[in-house]
Symmetry: C2
Amino acid sequence: MAERQPHTKTPATDRELQAARERFVSLWGQMGSSWGIPRTMAEVHALLFIVGRPMNTDELMAGLGISRGNASMTLRSLTEWGIVSRTRQRGDRKEYFEAEQDVWKLFRTILRERKKREVDPLLEALHSCRDAVRPKEGRKIGPEAGEAEEMVARIDQMLEFMHMIEAISRRFIGPDGEGLETAARLLGRAS
Amino acid sequence: MAERQPHTKTPATDRELQAARERFVSLWGQMGSSWGIPRTMAEVHALLFIVGRPMNTDELMAGLGISRGNASMTLRSLTEWGIVSRTRQRGDRKEYFEAEQDVWKLFRTILRERKKREVDPLLEALHSCRDAVRPKEGRKIGPEAGEAEEMVARIDQMLEFMHMIEAISRRFIGPDGEGLETAARLLGRAS
DNA sequence: GCCTGTTTTCAGAAAATTCTGAATATTCAG
DNA sequence: CTGAATATTCAGAATTTTCTGAAAACAGGC
C-alpha cells in the first residue's frame, strides 16, 4: 500500500481501458485457439469487436504486434467468414475493417459457416462410408454379414443424430432461418 | 477389369469392412482435429466406437500405428473426458477400453466437458474483465467515461449471450439435465 | 505511360502441438 | 518378497500449424 495514487474516482483510466482491451483480446484468442481457430484470427476479431469502430491494417498490426502478411491473410479469412467487413474511410486510401457487433448474429454466422465447411462434408463422407459396407442385396450370406450389419448400425446411429442436428440448424442457423434467438426462446421455455 | 472375382453377393468382404473402418477413423480424426481435439485422440475414440467392443492397448497401437506412450496418454484423456471406459477381460492381465456407444450421450458428454473446461473459465474471466472497467461509482467523470461505457456494454452483450447459453446447457447438457434429446424434441416442434 | 501508396502472396522461418521410446513405476501371481 | 507383465511418464524428436517479410501485384492520380 502507498504508491497507487488515490486521486479521483474516474470510471476507468485510459490505462485501465487499454489493459482490459488487451485482456479481452487475449481471452478471445485463447478461446478461439482451443476451438480450432488460429489464435491471431480470433485476436484480430476480438480487437475489432471490442474497439467497436473500423480499424486499418496498420492499426491492427501495431495493436497486436503481427506482420503485414499475417494481418492481410487473417483479415481475408475473417471477411470470408462474414464476421468482419471492409469499409472505407473518406479521405483515406487505406482499407478499414469492422467487426459485426451483434453477438447473436456473430455466433449464428460462425455456426453456419463451420457447419458448411466441416459438418456437411463429413456427413456426405459418412454416407458413402456407410454405403460401402451396407449389403447391396437384402440378403446376408458371408460370415462378415453380422459384423458388417453392426457397423452399419453404428454409423447409422451417428448419421441419424447428425441429421437431426442438421434439420435443427437449417431452421435456426440457416441464412433464412428463424435465428438463434428463437431457438433460445424455445429452449428457455417451461417445457 | 478382371482380377476382382465376382464370386458371391456377400454383403461386404472383410477387406471392405476393414477399409470402411479405416475411412471412418480417419474422418473422425479429421473432424476432431478441426475442432481442436488432437487427431490421435479422436482416432482412438473412433476406432473404439466403430469396433464396438473393448480393445487393449496393443490392438489400438497396431490398429492406428501409434506408440505405446501416445496410446497411454490418449486413453487417459478419453477416460477423463468420460467417453471411454476401462474394462477388464477375464483371464487377461491387460486393460481393455471401450467407447460409449450411445451417440446422444456421447455428444452430451463432450459438450458438457468442453463447457466446463473452456467456457466456464472464460465466463469468469470476462466478468472480471468487465468489472475492471465498469465505473465504480454511479458517476461518470473522466474523458474516457464514454468509451469505457461502450466497452462495458459490448462485454455485457457478450456475457448476456453466454449466460443464456449457460442456462440452456445447464438444463439440457448438465449431468442431471433433461438430455439433448429433449432439447432436440423441443426445437423440432412446430413453433 | 510512370510513380506512389497500399494490398496480396507465398516460400521458408518460427512456434506450437503432438508423438515417441526408453526409463520408471505399478500390479499381481507365486 | 521376487520377477514378469503391463502401464505411465516425460524429455526431446517429429510434425503440423502459423507467421514473417520481401517480392509481386494492384489502384489511382498525373
